[in-house]
């Protein structure tokens, strides 16, 4: 038997002993045992070992196997029998050992677990009494519990009849020293930590429940990490900077001229908080969130197979009514029906290719885990991400198919081709090929839990359940990470959608705490956004600190959030903002026609690409196509046309009087801020010069001025400042 085969066999037996063996393993085992004498022997020896250990420890089966009726009879000859009862080997009480790790002993937590029930059953998350997870690299252990020798055997001797009560030993955990938060924050200065902590192991101190406390928590955690890296946060953003940012982030557009003016003039102390709340409650928020997630789920390109707008409006409803995120995910995963049913569009779009895109996209978008590589081979850096990871997830989708039919629509009086997402009654496992060409089988399995074949519930419904079985499910963590990144430009991991042991986390404790809080809040999306937007970090300016600093996520370092990172406007935000800049009303943006127009406008930038992940190509990335559209496109033309742009018209008509004042108004309309004095002077000079030019060509002064002002506005709209969220 080759050494590799031997290893393999032993590995399978290990899995068998721990109940982790897959049917794959079983097949391999059989093959080996049936063909190789040595393998057979080894297998039996190994199982024997396991059995002996089990038997000796349990002592069970030795006494309660004799039926009661015979117990008395056996008692008669009990004297002889006693000697033949399996003797428990002398149990040495393992000495209570404390193995202190040589680390700072700040934050020593002692947990006393009274009663084994607390240990074996899943502990509820109770503030102040949480099980402390030890951040423990393999091999070294911080102490072991003492195991008093069970008394079951002595009892068994005296009363053979009674089944010895299974008394589980009491276990006291020794004091466990956990690395303090500062330490963990301080380790690995700015370079990624060599051994990133698996997030599930991160210690979570009791998480507060009120908004106020959670916001404070965020502030404290961020500040702490900054201090550990000796970085100072910058000053707060001025109102003008901040108001534009918050409108863009929460409503997907720049504020209108009057909205900006109102805010700037407001002298209330809580005006920022009030504005956040107002925007959270507005339909624009729901719409923007829905847009973001629709783009994530099905992309921006027009797809004949689905009705994107149905998904969008369903998501908008979910966000407007602030339905728990969990519910949204569950519906997306388990949806059935035609494209008329919003959530069904997600899978309708991706179920091609044996649900390979569905698997990859669901994992990347909803779990922030990039599994697509694992489709064909073991993940190169993440241990444990075998091919089976991908295919076991894929197996959940195998019960689903798209039923195509022709349906007659009486209203339109024609027959339509209809695609419907349905769950089959029968299904089988999924098969895949390894790199070596070996066919493997994969049964639906997620999070280590394999789905029982007999269960009546459709597979995708079961997956929906499984996605949320943990205390801190990855679905929650992923959502927190994405949402954070939505507002800050960077999430806690880079890349955002590849969370795993191979990806360093910038603020592991904060991420876990926010995840816990999010779960505890019953996946309340608006609350999460509130915590993010009302934290101190969100108030910071985006201006680079004068002295320069070490917070440079653009260079691949872990972000410290010591300033607001500049984000480019998304295509939708740009469109909506141009409409606003062109004097459009905020409400008009939510109309169906506006959405159609917007989609059309967007389509010039996005094309679908036939890959295994149904990806898209975009030219909306600051390069030439975008620039040209900005410079010459109709939207901007409309914006600078006073007959189309009422706001501009008013400015041109002399609302404000002097040129300077009009320039200030233009700046406010376009950039939501007043120009600095230098800026103002320069622009005014340029304006005067252009008027002079025109007048020399015999253009009437008024016209020349109007034209000049239009040019200024055009310049503002085409500035990089306009296209950025800062």
């Amino acid at each position: 038997m080759k050494p590799s085969e031997r290893q393999h066999l032993l590995r399978i037996v290990e899995a068998l002993c721990e109940g982790l063996a897959t049917s794959d393993d079983v097949a391999r085992l059989e093959a080996l045992v049936l063909t190789d004498q040595e393998a057979r022997r080894l297998y039996v020896e190994a199982m024997d070992l396991h059995g002996e250990l089990f038997w000796d420890a349990a002592g069970a089966g030795s006494t309660d196997s004799i039926p009661t009726a015979y117990a008395e009879i056996a008692q008669m000859g009990s004297r002889q029998i006693k000697s033949s009862l399996p003797q428990r080997p002398a149990e040495k009480v393992p000495s209570f050992k404390r193995n202190w790790k040589a680390i700072a002993t700040l934050a020593v937590a002692t947990v006393l677990l009274i009663g084994v029930i607390a240990v074996w059953s899943k502990p509820a998350v109770v503030p102040g009494e949480q099980t402390i997870a030890v951040n423990d690299p393999e091999g070294t252990d911080a102490g072991r519990p003492a195991i008093p020798s069970p008394k079951t055997m002595e009892e068994a001797d005296s009363s053979v009849a009674a089944t010895p009560p299974v008394r589980l030993p009491e276990i006291t955990l020794p004091s466990v020293s956990t690395p303090s938060a500062e330490e963990r924050g301080g380790q690995g200065k700015m370079k990624p930590v060599v051994e990133p902590t698996p997030l599930a192991n991160v210690e979570v101190k009791p998480v507060p429940t009120t908004d106020k406390d959670l916001i404070q928590l965020i502030n404290d955690e961020i500040r702490q990490t900054q201090m550990a890296h000796e970085v100072q946060p910058v000053a707060r953003a001025a109102d003008a900077e901040w108001v534009r940012r918050v409108y863009l982030d929460l409503a997907g557009r720049i504020p209108t001229l009057s909205e900006t003016e109102t805010f700037l003039k407001d002298s209330g102390r809580d005006k920022r908080t009030v504005l956040v709340e107002t925007l959270l409650a507005s339909p624009a928020f729901a719409h923007q969130q829905a847009t973001i997630w629709t783009n994530l789920l099905v992309g921006r390109t027009r797809n004949q197979e689905i009705r994107r707008e149905e998904l969008l409006s369903w998501l908008a409803r979910q966000f407007r009514e602030n339905r728990p995120w969990r519910e949204t995910v569950e519906e997306l995963v388990a949806a059935v029906g035609t494209p008329d049913n919003g959530p069904a569009n997600f899978l309708l779009a991706h179920l091609n290719n044996q649900a390979v895109p569905a698997t990859a996209i669901a994992s990347r978008i909803l779990l922030c885990q990039q599994l697509q590589c694992v489709q064909c081979h073991q993940h190169p850096t993440v241990k444990g991400w075998e091919q089976s990871e991908f295919w076991e997830l894929n197996a959940f989708f195998q019960q689903t198919r798209i039923k195509e039919s022709m349906q007659f629509d009486p209203k339109l009086n024609k027959t339509n081709h209809v695609r419907e997402l349905v769950n089959n009654h029968q299904f089988g496992p999924t098969y895949y090929e390894t790199l070596k060409g070996v066919m493997q089988v994969a049964y639906p399995r997620y999070g280590g839990i394999e789905v029982m074949v007999e269960q009546k519930m459709p597979l995708r419904d079961q997956l929906a359940d499984l996605l949320f079985t943990d205390d801190r499910p990855q679905t929650a963590r992923a959502f927190v990470n994405r949402t954070w990144a939505q507002f800050y430009g960077y999430g806690f991991t880079t890349p955002l959608d590849d969370m795993g042991p191979q990806t360093p986390v910038s603020h592991p404790e904060l991420l876990e705490q926010l995840t816990t809080a999010f779960v505890n809040s019953n996946y309340d999306v608006k609350r999460l956004v509130r915590w993010i937007c009302l934290s101190e970090t969100y108030h910071l300016t985006s201006q680079f600190p004068k002295k320069g600093n070490a917070d440079l996520p653009e260079q691949g370092e872990l972000p410290l959030f010591s300033r607001m990172y500049v984000k480019p406007l998304t295509a939708e935000q740009l469109y909506d903002s141009l409409v606003i800049a062109a004097g459009g009303s905020a409400d008009s943006l939510l109309s169906r026609s506006a959405m159609t127009n917007r989609e059309q406008w967007l389509s010039q930038f996005y094309t679908a690409v036939e890959t295994e992940e149904n990806s898209e190509e975009t030219t909306f990335d600051g390069t030439l196509p975008q620039t040209l559209v900005m410079m010459n496109g109709q939207l901007v033309q409309n914006a600078i046309d006073p007959s189309k742009n009422q706001v501009l018209e008013e400015i041109l008509k002399g609302r404000g009087g002097a040129e300077s004042e009009r320039i200030r108004q233009l700046s406010l309309a376009a950039l939501s801020r007043y120009p600095s004095s230098t800026e103002l002077t320069e622009i005014r000079d340029a304006l005067r010069w252009s008027v002079k030019q025109r007048v020399e060509r015999n253009v009437p002064v008024q016209i020349a001025l109007a034209e000049g002002l239009k040019d200024v506005y055009w310049a503002y709209l085409n500035s990089s400042e306009f296209a950025l969220n800062h």
Binding site: R11, E45, G61, S84, D141
Partner: protein
């Protein structure tokens, strides 16, 4: 145990029978375990087997091998159990069962020595490793439970357990091959 013991034979079993019975338990258990691969199923099947054994007391011919007789019964129970849980993916083929059963019987002679060797090898383990094994085999405890209880990631615990079990296996093997009792 689901079945009742109403069909017990009226004959009072001899002391000898009882003795043989209790002595065979461990061997029977290991016999069953090798065929089903799961400690808990093996226990269940053993219990079923025992019921049958007790119901057929009079069928046993004294002076014949108790173990052979009991093993036959156990084999049948293994097949029955397999039939019931046929759709469970951990089902071995009948051929596997029979081949493994034979192997177990072949190795049965060494069982006592193996047991002793195991005890000695456990002594030879590092304190922490021995404790790990002892904890793992606490009744009712799984590897995953242990991981939770220790606050270590499950995979790391599995790795450690695998390492220790492997060490024990090698040690026992070595003991048996060197200490050949005449």
């Amino acid at each position: 145990m689901s079945s009742s013991v109403g069909n017990l034979s009226s004959r009072v079993p001899s002391d000898e029978f009882v003795q043989l019975f209790t002595r065979s338990q461990r061997t029977l258990y290991l016999f069953i375990l090798a065929q089903v691969g799961d400690v808990h199923s093996a226990e269940e099947i053993l219990q079923e087997t025992n019921l049958v054994i007790w119901s057929k007391v009079e069928q046993f011919q004294p002076e014949t091998s108790f173990l052979s007789w009991a093993r036959q019964i156990a084999k049948y129970e293994v097949l029955k159990h397999r039939q019931r849980f046929r759709r469970d993916k951990l089902t071995f083929s009948e051929e596997f069962l029979s081949v493994v059963a034979d192997e177990v019987v072949q190795q049965a002679g060494e069982q006592e020595r193996r047991r002793d060797a195991l005890q000695q090898c456990l002594e030879k383990l590092q304190q922490s490793d021995r404790e790990l094994i002892q904890q793992r085999y606490q009744p009712g405890l799984s590897g995953k439970d242990l991981a939770e209880h220790l606050g270590r990631p499950a995979n790391s615990v599995y790795q450690s357990l695998g390492r220790v079990r492997k060490a024990l296996l090698e040690c026992v093997h070595r003991q048996l091959s060197t200490n050949v009792t005449p």
